[in-house]
Each structure stands twice: as C-alpha cells, then as structure tokens.
Symmetry: C2
C-alpha cells in the first residue's frame, strides 16, 4: 500500500522557516488572514504489506530509527491509495 | 480554518533525498519491502476565512507566488480542522 508519513515540529519548537514564510505572506504578498504557519516534511512510499498492524509497526520503527527526531518532531501516517 | 498544503516533486523529477532514505531503509535498516520513497514538504497554517472557494483561491495564489516551483512541484491542500 502507498502511505504518507507527515513529520512536523512539536508545538513550542521554534520554526524559523515557517515564520519566514508567514512574514512574507503577511507583509510582502498581502495575506494578513494567514497565521500560524508551520513547515514540516512528508515522505510518500510504497510498503509491500497489507496488514495494517504490520504497517504501523514498520512506520514506527523507521521513524524511530531514521526519519524522526522525537525530541522536537511528531509524526503521523495515512494510507493514500 | 486550519489547512495543510502538501508540496511534492512531480513524477520523473529526480528526488535524491528520497532515494537516499530508500537506500538506507532497504540496505542499512533491513526493510526491503519499502520502495518509491519521495520526500516532499508540508505547510500547516490558519486561514481566517470560512468560504472554501476563497480558501482555494488564496492557496492557489500563495502557492503560485511563493511556495511552489510549478516546473518541478505539485501541490494539494486539505482542511485538517
């Protein structure tokens, strides 16, 4: 199945890129109605596995070992196909 | 409303970071069942606007002007709250 892992900074962790984008949108492009911009990353991948419990285990393990810095980041995943 | 904009590389555009992650997962961490890793970014933000048509217009405009390189990237957005 095809999944998407969303990795975002935890609340309270300073997001300088998000802040820079927000400033640009507010001040340079004229969108004062936009606030709270947070930048994160996403990883799409195919996993040759049908059992959702197994997929959850794999996602937890690869996030733990490689993809996510759990001190400052949160992650979630969704099936996209 | 709170939205998430997903920005990903178009099909066929070389994704070196995704490839590096895939190699690590396959060879170093022992997950041969994972393939087709593509890295993208996501931006979460609040938009003080309730009308979905307006939100769509705002998203299209900020992606066009600032957030997305349309030559190599695609984007989509979803309401998350």
């Amino acid at each position: 199945m095809k999944i998407r892992i969303n990795i975002s900074l935890k609340k309270g962790v300073l997001d300088t890129q998000g802040k820079a984008i927000e400033n640009s949108l507010n001040k340079n492009l004229g969108f004062p109605q936009i606030s709270g911009v947070r930048q994160g990353k996403q990883l799409e991948m195919e996993i040759a596995e049908e059992d959702m419990t197994k997929v959850q285990e794999i996602v937890d393990e690869i996030c733990d070992k490689l993809l996510v810095n759990k001190i400052i980041e949160n992650y979630s995943f969704e099936v996209i196909k």
